[in-house]
Amino acid sequence: METTAAINVSEALRRADGDQDFFLTLAGLFLEESSKEAAAARAALERQDRAELAAAAHKLKGSVMEMCAPRLFERTTRLEELGRRGEFAEASSVCADVEACLAEVHAALRELIARGFPS
């Protein structure tokens, strides 16, 4: 199984007990929820709300874990830490990274949903 730049497909599928249908259903849910969670993180950052930024990043991190997206996971983890510490300057940059990584993950998932798993 291929590992795309954004997500580790084989690991994600293993986590879903090899059930491709289940993974794709979960991916659909992720596409809906992760956008909201990323938007919540951005809004908290703009308000400079440490607690809300950390909470939104934490929530996004949890869902990213299900998708096995290592770079996005690393960036959300960092964003959560910065939010907790109130380091908004760096958080602003990391939040942009998160949004970019998330877009890549979304694109990868949409492709998987559209074309199916590589054989």
Binding site: R15, D19, L26, H58
Partner: protein, 414 residues
């Protein structure tokens, strides 16, 4: 999308886990839909019934309603986080023994310690593999099942204990009521007839006693007196004794045999109170005192506890070899006669007093009773009896008697 819609995906259940899981119910409390859906599907695949709640408050409601076997709770949640949820669970009497796995990305010892201190039973990493999830859930369910069994057993024991206590209280009330009734049938102390006074002390081994006595006027010139001892003690002995006591009432004897002649009383009692199927029997001493002449006639059916304590002569036991009641329906109980003198005392006593044993097992004995009585000749009758009880208690080194203890004293005026 409702994550419950994902449950149909979990078709390929792990059969061994299914067997272990049976119909175990797991409540999953997590505000993050993707994580919750992923974990719910995993647990459903393992054969569990999975309930979901989006936050701690909703989780508590579901837990109270469904009493799940295991809870998996996310640490970080808005409103009520995982540790706070655990604390709320532990405060709830219905839920406090629930088994809770706290799901977290935290793996620092201090955080784990905090989670445990605030009520979590174990931890489950969000990144846990299927094998780890399975192992931790099975371990949690095993513990949960044991706790439930203990609770059920404890609850049953508590319920049985309450029932027993209620029954015990009812029985004690009944026993006390019966004891009061029996006590009311005992003769009044003080002056019995002209020149004759009566005193007694009675301490049943249990609430109800099997050894009883009676002293009552037969007519203007005669007194009837008896002491009976039922084999055994406790409720059964007391019931049998009360029956014989009723039988020995003066009016009943006069109606049945026309007199209170001790020989005839014993003959009739022997006929009517045979040895029971369980081997229970009575010993009985019956006397009749002609007050004007102070003539005492008496007979005994196996009872050896009557002592004549004359004012000026040595004491002697008023008994002769005889069978207890009921051993032989043809038994004849020979009657003896003597004349009491002024200031003489007559003591009727149950074996519970003279068979009181020292810690080494030696009975106090009739001769010690006799000594106690003789040293107290100049004391008032009630004081003499009280002295006997004191000596017997001192001998056995305890206050309570193992058998019914009774001492009845009659004293003729000088």
């Amino acid at each position: 999308m409702n994550s419950n819609a994902l449950h149909h995906i979990g078709k390929a259940a792990d059969l061994s886990a299914w067997r272990e899981a049976s119909i175990a119910t797991i409540l999953l409390v997590d505000d993050e839909p993707v994580t919750r859906a992923g974990m719910a599907a995993r647990l459903t695949r393992l054969g569990y019934r999975v309930l979901e709640a989006e936050n701690g408050r909703e989780g508590l409601e579901v837990a109270r309603r469904e009493r799940p076997d295991l809870l998996i709770v996310d640490w970080v949640m808005p409103e009520m986080d995982g540790p706070t949820f655990c604390e709320a669970m532990r405060r709830d009497p219905l839920l406090k023994s629930s088994h809770i796995l706290l799901m977290t990305a935290h793996d620092q010892p201090a955080q784990i310690a905090e989670g445990l201190a605030r009520g979590a039973d174990d931890f489950l990493s969000k990144a846990a593999s299927k094998q780890e999830v399975t192992a931790r859930v099975l371990a949690g369910l095993r513990t949960s099942r044991l706790v439930r069994e203990l609770e059920t057993t404890g609850s049953q024991l508590e319920s049985s204990m309450r029932l027993l206590q209620t029954r015990q209280a009812e029985m004690e009330t009944d026993l006390q009521s019966a004891a009061n009734f029996v006590h009311s049938m005992l003769p009044a102390q003080g002056s019995l007839a002209q020149g004759i006074s009566l005193a007694w002390e009675y301490q049943p081994a249990l609430t109800l006693g099997g050894d009883l006595f009676g002293v009552a006027p037969i007519d203007a010139e005669h007194l009837g007196l008896y002491i009976l001892d039922a084999s055994g003690h406790g409720v059964a002995a007391a019931l049998r004794s009360a029956t014989l006591m009723t039988f020995l009432r003066v009016d009943n004897m006069l109606q049945l045999i026309g007199s209170y002649d001790p020989e005839k009383v014993l003959f009739e009692a022997n006929r009517r109170f045979p040895l029971s199927d369980e081997g229970d029997y009575f010993t009985l001493w019956v006397g009749q005192l002609h007050v004007p002449t102070r003539s005492l006639s008496y007979a005994s059916a196996g009872h050896h506890g009557v002592l004549l304590n004359p004012a000026e002569k040595p004491s002697r036991w008023l008994t002769r070899p005889s069978s207890p009641l009921g051993f032989n329906p043809a038994s004849v109980f020979a009657c003896d006669q003597l004349t009491l003198q002024p200031a003489d005392r007559l003591f009727l006593l149950s074996d519970g007093i003279y068979e009181a044993s020292s810690p080494t097992g030696e009975p106090w004995g009739r001769w010690r009773f006799q000594q106690a009585v003789e040293t107290q000749k100049r004391s008032p009758l009630s004081a003499t009896i009280s002295h006997c009880f004191t000596e017997a208690r001192r001998w056995q080194e305890q206050c309570e008697f193992l058998d019914d203890a009774a001492v009845v004293g009659l004293e003729l005026a000088v």
